[in-house]
């Protein structure tokens, strides 16, 4: 191999290995074996876990269906769930479940969800309070939350 091309090849290999190493250590972790982390809150990964907790605490359940590639989920995370007032309500009033639709097919089927994002609010005795398909902007989402809190008595 000609000298210049040898150098170019080595540089490219260096770039590839550097990238592989650096990106593996710098890419944020979104969930581990216990929880999913969205909007700096902990979310249960399965409906079962969430339901158990909701029964124990007698609080309303929020089951949120999402995927990693869904743009509107990201919008939910950054513009809606992270808004301080909404974040506080989610933290204090709800038991949160984040169903990753790519992984947790069982819960996805259980609620018949077709596409993310999708939210279902339930009472601890599994009565559906409201279904919210698709994305809802922050102001409207706040109104929905208030209505759900009132209805669910959470």
């Amino acid at each position: 191999m000609p000298a210049v091309e040898k150098v170019l090849t080595l540089l490219a290999l260096g770039a590839v290995f550097g990238f592989a190493y650096y990106s593996l250590n710098s890419t944020p972790v979104i969930s581990d074996s216990n929880f999913t982390y969205i909007a700096e809150l902990e979310w249960y990964k399965t409906y079962e876990e969430g339901l158990r907790e909701a029964k124990q605490q007698n609080r309303t359940l929020m089951v949120y269906f999402w995927t990693i590639w869904c743009i509107y989920c990201e919008k939910y995370h950054t513009e809606v769930f992270s808004r301080p007032d909404i974040n506080a309500i989610l933290a204090e009033r709800f038991v949160r479940v984040a169903v990753d639709m790519d992984v947790n097919k069982r819960d996805t089927r259980r609620f018949g969800v077709q596409a993310p994002p999708y939210i279902v609010f339930l009472t601890p005795d599994e009565r559906v309070i409201m279904r919210v398909p698709g994305y809802v902007p922050a102001d409207e989402f706040r109104r929905i939350l208030d209505a759900v809190v009132e209805e669910g008595g959470a």
């Binding site: 000609p2 170019l8 990238f19 650096y22 593996l24 944020p28 969930s31 990693i68 869904c70 077709q114």
Partner: protein
Amino acid sequence: MSWDLLLYAASAGGVLAVAGIALGRERVRRAGTGMLFGFLLAANMVLTYAFAVSDFSYYYVWKFSSSVYPLYYKLSGVLAGQEGTLLFWAMLIAGGALWLERHSSLLSRRAQLVVVVLALYFTGMVLVQSPFEPYPGAPPAEGYGLNPLLLDPWMALHPLTTFLGYGATAVPFAGALVYLLMSARGSGDAACREWVTEGLQWLRYAWVFSTISMAFGGIWAYKTLGWGGFWAWDPVESAMLLPWMVMTAALHLSVEHRRNMRRYSVLAPVLTAYSFTFTVFATAVTRSGIFESVHAFIAGGAGKYVMLLLGVSALAPLCLGVWKWLRVRGAPARSTRREEIFYAAVLVLMIMTFIVFYGVSFPPVVKLLTAKKYAVTKQFFNLWLYPFFLMLLLITGLGLSYSERRRREAFREFAVFSGVTLLAMFIKPGENFNIVDYTSFISATKPLLYATVGEISALSILPPVAYVLYACWIRARIRGLRLREAGVVLIHGGLAVIAVGVVFSPLFTSEFSVSFKRDEVGVEKPLMYAEFHEGFGRLGTWGVHTKEVPSEYSAVLLGVREYVEGLRSAAYPAVSSLTERNLSEGEVYTVRGYVEQAVLTEHAMFIKLTDGRSSVWVASPPYRVAKGEELVATGMVLLDVPLPDGGIGPVLLSEAVSFLRELAFREVQEVRVEVLRGERTLGRGVMKYESYSNGDARRPLIDRNLWGDVFAVLDMRVGDEVSMTVRIKPFINLVWIGVALFVLGMGLCILQERRTNP
């Protein structure tokens, strides 16, 4: 009879062909290859016909079709699932084997052997998960249907173009493997040279179809809410980009290899072979589900066979490549400047390919090992790829404008454009000029490198783009615009145009939300039942209303229409289709007819259904039915039953009848708006919210202009309110124009090749 027989017959043909090639019997080989292709073609035709006539006795047809679809969508169901696509793919590969009959060289024969074995393997995968599997139980009258989001003209064509592209990589794959093997042994030089040209031409076709398919997929994603634009870097999209990138690299290297057979004599065939490998990879990501879920992989079906094929097709070229590299260290010791620039560009492209590959594949691997899930979102790809993309454009510019004569000039230009690019990275006329909004990363961690790249100004794309366009012009001046040269200029110009579109369009998109309440608008006509299209429906309309938005924009509501579209009655067989058959006791049938008479007895409700030609009695639980009402009944036939009118005859024993008015195909809310900036109309049109029995779909308003689009989509559906999100998307159409240039340019290259090497 199960049509799987066709697949077995095709397999027999494949075995015959293999035997013919191994024994050197030409007739056997020809007959075998012909059988292989012929029977696979027949199987595809049978399946397509089953979709065309909505034959729901096949589970696969039931799952992906509905009798109410127009023919266009019915046919698109053929390639909606793994079974159908594998069958189609198998046929294309077999077609490649047949095509190889044209050539008589030893290399072609051996390549044909590989292609036939591939076709056999694919046929085997189809048999594992056959599209001809019957529907379990009595065939239903109506199919489950495609996901409503897929009911889109672009999506209907997307799989077709995808698999035409994928199918075209099989022959170059086989050729490259045999070529590596033979050239490592130093045999068959002339055939090898001829083969490089053939492989190149196949790759070009594959590249064109892959380009078109990604564009169709992009247009569809752009229209379909939830995917947020034409490209979202989700695993399926990224996996589709991979074969395209590998093909692009392979095409460049093969052209260079043909010019000088001692250059890239390993890398060019290895990458050519990998074009196929990555199509298998893309299939594995798309269909098997392993890249998000381990369960679908273990669950069986053809998934594990796809993985096996992936392993073999990844290892074979690699091993052969290494072997040849060790045997023939044939590369010249010196290289020219032009060759070095060329090589640098290909290397950068390969680094980018690796980044995409890594981004798609490391999260599932890590998740398998540690249960940790990484947030590999679009920012990951955008952040890592952008610097290399700039590099790629700059080197492309240099490569296009370089010639030995203007050597100094070319390097000077390169230095100037690179310098300006560096400067432009820091110039930000406004807030939103950051190349990537890295702050919206899901987690709070913001690594240094991300913050650095994320802060680069989007203006930095302009100098490299200008450079590529300028270089295209220089190249055209130096080399003229004959077919191939024009093609090369168009393709690289297209790349520059796309670059502006993809960087600027998301950046300068403005967005606002607006909602109209029924009360404030006023209802012109209440909801009422009315005849509609071929079905019937409820129809209601709202009035006209203008709403200012707290920005320079405003939206005028021009009207809302709400209606329910019924099923076309033809979806169900009429009564006479039942009475004209030889009925057998205990069989289940579905009929449609008008109520002629209804009698309530102590056992059941007897309804006499007629279609004008003949009539039949249906026994059902009591219903309130009116004479002349149209209904559909499914039930078991009992022969020789005493009838309410005194006679004896067949009765359809039905547990439930359906009134046709309740069998809605879809409910539609149709909203017409006009979007203004100040006094000026930016765009207008209709958007829809459609609810189907198997899901909802939102059809946005897209009003295209040369400078950009007005894009509006309905938000959640609440009865008394329509709320919508409106986006003004400038520069978006540059992406589609660029793709058109890609296709046109490559078309010219293909044409030129056909002229010189017919």
